[in-house]
């Protein structure tokens, strides 16, 4: 009877108060009555092996755990909430709350996957309509971190009917459901979900971005993409509701499309709009693409400067075979044949092991350089980040072995072992495909470099004809009064990475007469 009264008061309090606190919690932790003599204390760690069956618990254990949670003692709170969840039937009024607070305690202990597991359970079971929106909010806060996409995005946000959920969580749910339809190739169904998202919200902008990316796939050749689509990407790149990362992705998409359509100046404008956080080194691909664009615009000194950027320690391990090719091309254009030859050979020298792996048809996933490159892109990157995060959390779990007690620790240990195994499987499956793409890229670059090496060899031994003279140099832009030059002495500064310029004179000879 007391329990029923407690639960009724709890529900009333929850309905009235913004905080999800079961207000019937005891006044102070000290007042929380210990388990009656003879009754087992499920929360106390036991040195004995965990019993097969969970021990019975006093319903007051929930109040005790709740008090501990409110005093930020998440370790002890998690142990008690777990004991409660394990022992009580699912029909218990506090059962979903216990799951919810167990999830939140684990999230606060940086065991986000375990936390997400319990929050997702609350949403899937839907035992208490008051807890579900809070659990969804909790899950939404985790989506920017590496997380289990299947468990959170697909099985919760995309699969469940969450029509009653409003606000940002509801918007995100509609976005995920639309995204799932887009991936399945059904844009019409996707739009039904996207249309439910209020205009001007973050989710609406993300939905627009997802739609644009999907539409891109309709074009077999990037040169066929219409201006309207490019403009849409450009507009999204300036949509401040999107995260900086997504805005940059949109701008880079616009830049790439303009580049393919040979609108190099437009592409350069888009690359220039890509904003980096202060002192952030940025992405190697951004620099390399900008270097190619500038090369095509005839700005070879600026292009060479960007290639210098790619030698910075932040990018030394990047997989950029194109870099050597572009460097060789610039040197060749300025008739610096020896450096051109050396730049061309540098590619085959640096990637000798990877090229050998490809040639001998060995397992590409054993080549560390290519694996690192493949793990840095797209869905493989996400899978790798989640796999790495799980491993780290699994290791951190050991710190709580004592305070969690055998049962919770053993349970979480099994949870993490299974999750790590699954994350590894997903990562390896994606890696296999990504590493092939990287290998293709390397082989293409190596072929072009060999051709370049041959052409440079011919030029190197070309006979200089009588009357030849040195060609006029490509003029380097003079220093603007607003500008300041810091000569490079081998020390890379992050704030200078986009500003290097190389002064290089042409050694070409023209006007030959027989």
């Amino acid at each position: 009877m007391k329990i029923a009264l407690l639960s009724a008061l709890l529900l009333l309090a929850l309905a009235a108060a913004p905080a999800p606190a079961p207000q019937t919690a005891p006044a102070a932790p000290a007042a929380a009555a210990p388990a009656p003599a003879g009754a087992p204390d499920a929360g106390t760690p036991s040195s004995a092996a965990p019993a097969t069956l969970p021990q019975k618990v006093d319903p007051k254990l929930f109040d005790e755990a709740w008090t501990l949670y409110n005093t930020a003692n998440y370790k002890e709170a998690a142990r008690r909430f777990y004991a409660y969840v394990e022992a009580m039937p699912q029909t218990d009024d506090n059962y979903p709350w216990a799951q919810y607070f167990l999830g939140q305690s684990l999230v606060r202990l940086k065991l986000t996957h375990a936390g997400a597991y319990y929050l997702a359970r609350v949403v899937r079971e839907r035992a208490n309509p008051l807890v579900v929106p809070r659990a969804l909010d909790g899950l939404r806060e985790l989506i920017d971190l590496p997380h289990d996409e299947t468990m959170v995005d697909e099985q919760v946000f995309a699969a469940l009917d969450l029509g009653s959920v409003e606000g940002e969580t509801g918007d995100y749910s509609n976005y995920q459901q639309g995204l799932l339809d887009l991936r399945a190739g059904n844009e019409r169904w996707a739009n039904l979900h996207f249309d439910k998202i209020p205009k001007g919200t973050v989710a609406a902008s993300r939905a627009r971005f997802a739609t644009l990316v999907t539409r891109l796939k309709e074009f077999k050749d990037a040169r066929e993409v219409n201006q309207e689509l490019i403009q849409s990407f450009w507009d999204l790149g300036h949509d401040m509701k999107l995260s900086l990362e997504t805005r940059n992705e949109a701008l880079m998409a616009a830049a790439r499309l303009r580049y393919e359509k040979k609108d190099f100046q437009g592409a350069l404008d888009a690359y220039a709009q890509v904003k980096l956080p202060p002192l952030d080194p940025g992405q190697a691909t951004l620099y390399l693409e900008e270097a190619w664009t500038r090369y095509n615009l005839g700005q070879i000194h600026a292009s060479m400067g960007i290639l210098n950027t790619l030698n910075a320690p932040s990018f030394r391990d990047e997989f950029l075979p194109d870099k050597y090719l572009l460097k060789a091309m610039i040197f060749k254009d300025l008739c610096h044949y020896l450096p051109a030859k050396r730049a061309a050979k540098e590619l085959t020298r640096k990637f000798a092991e990877s090229l050998e792996t490809i040639r001998t048809r060995d397992d590409l996933t054993r080549d560390l350089r290519m694996v690192r490159a493949a793990a840095a892109i797209g869905s493989t990157r996400r899978a790798y980040r989640f796999y790495a995060a799980l491993q780290l959390e699994g290791e951190n779990l050991g710190r709580y072995a004592g305070s969690f007690g055998d049962r919770l620790y053993g349970h979480l240990n099994r949870l993490y072992v299974l999750a790590v195994a699954e994350a590894q499987r997903v990562y390896e499956a994606r890696l296999k495909e990504s590493v092939r793409q990287e290998a293709d890229k390397l082989v293409r670059a190596a072929e072009q470099v060999r051709l370049m090496d041959y052409e440079v060899g011919l030029k190197l031994y070309e006979r200089i004809k009588r009357g030849s003279k040195i060609t006029k140099d490509i003029e380097e832009p003079p220093l603007d009064p607003k500008e300041v030059a810091f000569p490079f002495d081998g020390e890379y500064w992050n704030d200078e990475l986009r500003a290097y310029r190389v002064s290089l004179k042409s050694r070409c000879i023209e006007g030959a007469q027989e």
């Binding site: 300041v484 490079f488 290097y500």
Partner: protein, 209 residues
């Protein structure tokens, strides 16, 4: 003749080495950036000291107004400093034990002047590998009128200073200046050096464009 041959023999490998280096690694690299901080009209408020005189130390506020013609050249149109004298124990001893009159000590009360400022050094430095601080260093030359407790004295001043930029509108200056008073009663040479050290906050107004 022999010396010429020896010199040539010693120099030629160095020249050849330089050429080989140029062939191997051609080009020079520089980071060309837009100057982040540019000054236009500057009002600075500071606090300074006159630390040199053995008989008193001066402390007081300083106000300046500067117009920057370019990033390297400026005219500090007006500079005014008030000095509150704090007598030293030496002066107190002289007055107390040896009956020296207080009027015997020449004490600076205030000074005003104008200077030309040349700032050839603009740079940046890293703070704890987390933040980039921009600074400039400059030299100044100008004239000062010094009011002492007994007379007005014209002076020529030479100074150096450093400015650390905090934002486009706020910077901090440290100025070290020596005012050399020009002797007026020839042939009596009565050179008075009045060095000042001033730490100030400078507010930048207007656009340099």
């Amino acid at each position: 003749m022999k010396e010429w041959i020896v010199s040539a023999a010693l120099l030629l490998p160095a020249v050849a080495l330089a050429q080989a280096e140029e062939l191997e690694n051609p080009g020079r690299v520089a980071a060309v950036q837009e100057r982040v901080y540019r000054m236009n009209q500057e009002l600075s408020l500071g606090i300074g000291t006159l630390p040199l005189d053995a008989f008193y130390k001066g402390f007081g506020p300083q106000v300046t107004y500067t117009f920057h013609f370019s990033d390297t050249f400026a005219w500090q149109i007006g500079r005014g400093m008030y000095s509150y004298p704090a007598t030293t124990s030496l002066r107190q001893q002289l007055e107390r034990d040896f009956g020296v009159l207080p009027t015997a000590f020449e004490v600076v009360q205030w000074m005003a002047g104008s200077d030309l400022v040349w700032s050839p050094i603009y740079g940046k430095t890293s703070f704890l590998n987390q933040q980039v601080l921009h600074f400039e260093a400059y030299a100044s030359i100008g004239g000062t009128l010094i009011k002492t407790n007994s007379q007005f004295r014209p002076a020529l001043d030479l100074g150096v200073g450093v400015r650390v930029f905090s934002s486009k509108f706020v910077s901090y200056r440290l100025d070290v200046t020596n005012n050399v008073c020009i002797p007026l009663k020839f042939p009596v040479v009565n050179v008075l050096n009045v060095p000042t050290i001033v730490l100030s906050v400078a507010l930048n107004f207007g656009s340099p464009e």
